[in-house]
């Protein structure tokens, strides 16, 4: 996401990783920018903060939580090596964990662009369930009305897509949304929004949605691949 802050998604939710050594006020400034720019992605998110070796006191942590909350983000948990940071987490009432054994390298170390990382899920995403991932999302199963998939990259639904999908939610417009049956309540790609008219009950064909000239267009997979 930036050189000092990186965001990753996984089966168990989003993780926000902060650079270990950068100046804390500078980090907060960058975070604020990122949250503002990517509001569509972050609003409503819950995540785990990953501090690495950095230590924070209770006041600094509260400041961070307030900033996140201001942008609609709730931090449920914090992982850190420093005891002080874990104590601060407990003091403000969020779960504190030691660093994961196979922690991600800190931001800034060369790694694949986060968007190229795909999350594969085999399940039904039901009403009220929201899945966020900074990369692509592939869902083998249905996305029911009231369910949401929000991805930094593309979204593929091998099933019926009847809920809400936002692809390219971190700003990338060069992404697609594909589904075996594309009957969404709403689609978004980057900053474009499309609501679809109710469809006939005829047989559905696999379709692809993408952006063409600042508009979301939908076409059948057969046409798209030509």
């Amino acid at each position: 996401m930036s050189d000092l802050i990186s965001i990753k998604g996984g089966r168990d939710g989003l993780r926000m990783r902060f650079d270990d050594t950068a100046d804390w006020p500078a980090l907060l400034v960058q975070l604020e920018q990122q949250l503002t720019q990517n509001q569509a992605f972050f609003n409503g998110a819950r995540l785990t903060l990953e501090l690495g070796e950095r230590s924070l006191d209770e006041i600094q942590l509260s400041e961070l939580l307030n900033l996140l909350q201001h942008h609609g983000v709730v931090a449920d948990a914090l992982s850190a090596n420093a005891r002080e940071a874990r104590n601060a987490a407990r003091a403000v009432g969020i779960t504190a964990r030691p660093l994961p054994r196979y922690a991600d390298p800190p931001p800034g170390t060369p790694s694949l662009a986060p968007e190229s990382e795909a999350l594969l899920l085999t399940r039904t995403v039901r009403s009220g369930q929201v899945l966020r991932h900074s990369g692509h999302i592939t869902l083998i199963g249905d996305l029911n009305p009231g369910g949401e998939l929000i991805a930094g990259g593309s979204v593929i639904v091998w099933g019926r897509l009847r809920g809400f999908v936002h692809a390219g939610a971190l700003g990338n417009a060069e992404v697609v949304i594909c589904a075996l049956e594309l009957s969404p309540t709403q689609l978004r790609i980057a900053d474009q929004i499309a609501t679809t008219p109710p469809r006939s009950n005829g047989p559905h064909v696999p379709e692809v949605a993408r952006i063409e000239q600042h508009q979301i267009v939908v076409e059948s997979w057969e046409n798209y691949k030509r």
Partner: protein
Amino acid sequence: MARVITITSGKGGVGKTTTTANLGTALAMRGARVAVMDADIGLRNLDVVMGLENRIVYDLVDVVEGRARLRQALIKDKRLPELCLLPAAQTRDKDAVSPEQMVYLTNQLRTEFDFILIDSPAGIEGGFRNAIVGADEVIIVTTPEVSAVRDADRIVGLVEAAEKGTPSLIVNRIKPRLVNRGEMLSVEDVIELLAINLLGIVPDDEAIVTSTNRGEAAVYDQHSLAGRAFLNIARRLNGEEVPFLPLQDQPGVLERFFGIFGRRRT
């Protein structure tokens, strides 16, 4: 081994209490020892539907708070000695009972009954969570309406997240004529969306209203289609394979319901 089964829905007024009363009665008619528990604290009405309102002395909250022993609060059914009701408190709010207390209560009931059916309040808040916390299995009741099915879907997700397994489904108040005319969601539509196991289909039936007003379960009424549907559900709960009822002598309905049956079980 006792089974604790919670009947819940998300949307209100879809038939949870009706289902609890009828399944409880049907299971007891078949010889099981059954306790039905009203977990809709503050809005109790399982007692009314079962015609036991006038016998209430103590309720669930009295037991939890130590004013009465469980045995004192349990009310025996009018006809079936093996059927008991644990009523909810009328005058307390939903926070009167904690999840731990609910688990404790259901565990106490387990020692004396074969089935414990819990009538859940509508919604997804604390009352609902209390109702499922002690359950081994969850049954979701829905009507064939888009909003009820949407809420049911939400509940399936919450039940799975609470590690209660995948719930099974009762579709209540089906009107075959409307379904045939394409004016009501079919059971197939509902199943297709929820993707969970179908336990029963209950038709919309005036006998439910009259039996509720008499305080007597519809399963006693030989002529009630809904009553027969509930009897069949009770048999399915006991592990029997019972085909779904033809709801009307209309061509089409039968095959459609058998169609689902075949697909779900094979």
